[in-house]
Amino acid sequence: MKKRWYDYLWVLSLTYLILGFFNILFAWLGLLCFFIPLIISVSQGTKGYCNRYCGRGQLFGLLGGRFGLSRKKDIPRFMKSKAFRYGFLIFFFLMFFQMLWNTYLVFEGAASLKQVVTLLWSFRLPWHWAYHGTLLHPGVAQFAFGFYSVMLTSTVLGLITMVLFKPRSWCVYCPMGTMTQLICKVKNHKM
């Protein structure tokens, strides 16, 4: 099958993760992975992002497929249930809003900038080397640290399920995937 330009978007996903080690402000670019799928699903009623452009999915497919870093076993039944998928979506959102709240506190001057990346919503990793100050408000940096935490956490979860189950197991419970599918269902009157 002929490769198209969008089959190489995994390069961008990998670059994104690497850039976050050097300058945390690049984390803002990750918003593209939030807005593009939403825009496609709302405007066209398809999961075109998952189906074609998701660089993260491609990265898991490559590592688990060509590089053989996956057991290629079936994912447990409960993980594909609606309860788990929507439950994870809600949990992810709650954590996301908490991150936004922390950003707000820094913007308001009620909290100081914390130069840490929180992995799996619990482990606070020192990350000060990736912040060199900014002309902008410290809140801008706080959002970057928070957003990078979200992206790194989901990558780590995706890598774990890639190894344990099939390469793109993340796609089964990816909050963006669940949300865009829900939007498509509503938009196409299937709910």
């Binding site: 099939k166 796609c171 089964v172």
Partner: protein, 68 residues
């Protein structure tokens, strides 16, 4: 009549996440994601190779015998 049994892919649409992994690996373009909701196999095109079933991260595609 000589009745042949053939294998065709079938998607459990209730559990399909519409990720599109199956579409990418199908050698005869027999699967499409319908309206971002679930995958659907065109049984007329499907040759029953099973690549989609192997690729599906949710393992919701299985090969079923159908009489051709």
């Amino acid at each position: 009549m000589n009745e042949k049994k053939r294998q065709k892919a079938a998607v459990d649409q209730n559990f399909c996440v519409a990720c599109g992994c199956c579409v990418k690996v199908c050698p005869v373009s027999a699967i499409e994601i319908q309206k971002g909701i679930a995958a659907l196999v065109d049984t007329a095109k499907c040759v029953g190779c099973g690549r989609c079933a192997k690729e599906c991260p949710a393992s919701v595609i299985e090969l079923r015998e159908v009489s051709a």
